[in-house]
Amino acid sequence: MTIFVQQLVNGMVLGSAYLLVGMGLYIVFNALHIPNFAHGEMFALGSYLQYTFVVGLGLAFWPGLVMVVGCVFVVGAAMALAVFERLRGMATTALLLASIALSIVLQEVLAVVWGRDALAVTPPVDTVIRLGELAVSAYRLILVLVAGTVAILVALVVYRTTFGRRLRAIAQNDQLAALSGIRSRRVAVVAFALGSCLAGLAGALLAPALSINPHMGLAQTLVAFVILVVVGAGAKLSTVVATALGLALLETMVAGYVSNTLRLTVVFAVLIAFLTLRPNGVSRTAVSVRGAL
């Protein structure tokens, strides 16, 4: 039972990272139709920047977090303008190739700037909450709360603000949106930056829980893509959150009860089984509405 609760908590922690990263990619893919394979590198960049701000510059953890979000937002916007705006109109496959190339480049840049050895950040609070045999570090609970709050904020932005309305408009039909006076390119760049900084935030939040290395983004990218494909196009962000948490729980339970090396294998086995049964994802939407957010 202790193992179960422990893994449940671990699953929630992992799930908070997955839901932020997954939401980011989901927004980018649905609004801009870019299968951004370099999404996980924004997660890695978030971790590295947090390391620099906290360990290198001696900032406090939470102000550092805010600065990371700002920095990754700028990097994301720059990436959208410098790379993806120039690849507009290309087929999905070509875009995926380009973003794979971009992720290789970014990983190597991270390695050149911060070195290839693993780095670590200490958590801002090191209290451990004990409930009987169960021990959970307070930081992990805070992390889950922060991620949940951010997810709600993002949902509010997407579904309740003018920007969100524009974003959903370009997701549904870019040209019609432009015809009705939306500056679709500007919205697209901001959406890309927003998606990126969600991944960056997740990276910074999880920095104390992970060993920071240049290739840490790959696992996040893969999970975000699994979420993207499982959810399918045209679902609400709440589905993304549910899928992310479910995936994280599956992964931690496999790690806890079966074997730690098999965790990603099981995730992909489930993915293949799932796609065999439901090639278009969980959401049952008409083809005409696909691509909406």
Binding site: L87, A91, A94, I104, F268
Partner: protein, 356 residues
Amino acid sequence: MNAGAIRRDAGSGNLAARSVPPAARRSPGLVVAALVLLVILAPATAAFVGGRLTSQALAIGTSVLLAAVVAVGVNVTVGFAGMLNLGNSLFFAIGAYVAVHAATTWGLPGAATFLVAVAACVGVAGALGLLLLRASGLQFGLMTIGVALVTYTVLIAWTPVTGGASGTSTAGPIREGGLPAVLSLGPWEIVTPRDHFVAAVALAMLCLASMVLLRRTRLMVRWECARDDEFLAASVGIDVARVRAAAYVVGSVPAGAAGVLFAYWSVLVTPSSFGFAEGSIEPLAMVILGGAGTVLGPFVGAAVVVGLPELLRGFADYAVLGYGVLLLLTVRFAPGGIVGTVAEWWARVRATREGA
């Protein structure tokens, strides 16, 4: 989402003209004769030249050629059939580990090893293809990434068969001297680095010749149709899923054969050669850089991705960064890759000359 439009974006609007390549107008007999000559003469030349090369040059040559053979397989799925295959490391691994077992426990001769490895690849690819090819485009790409990750995990976790993370080798027991196994192909025994180089040349030329012949088949036309527009292809009676499954199976064969030669050449086989970046992304990068869908592209790409870092030893730390940047620039500015771009330029030059 239609796959492989990367070549269509290359500005080659003359699809009709391209579907009947000039080579197809030459008589088949002449082509076959030329290819047979190539497959015989190239290794013979390699044997002659190989004697004068340093062992370092031989090693670079062999690794470039083996990488090229793997890339030829990736080119079938990615370039010819337009499926984003990111899981090719599986078949390279099957070839290599089959070779290790053939050399140590089964005691198979060389030719039989190649047959078993290729048969295993075809069987696995056929079975997997049934599952994977229910999806297409992005979903297919993601599932093949899954295949690559599962392959790597299995190689590490299945210790009794694969030796786990520390790997396994073709060498015999230490008490018998721990000598590397010798690959014997009929009367020809492959022992020295020069022999391995010659064998790699022979395998590469065999692949090259098969690709030239493959391009003249109906299957190739079907692949190109399915790649350029799957709905249009289906509308003229092409069974897109089946044609793609065929590409997946055909593409697995060169990787399996290269795996066998790789295992005998490198002696020690560890999972690190079959990771996602080394086993799947690098061959893909070679295909895209060299020219997806061209016969020579994979060879040029392998020379760039594997060969250049060897020549620029001082910048070894930046090799991956270099090919990443090159790949990004290729996708943006020259979607036809090196060979595709040169061929297009040459076609334009010829067209102006004939017009003048």
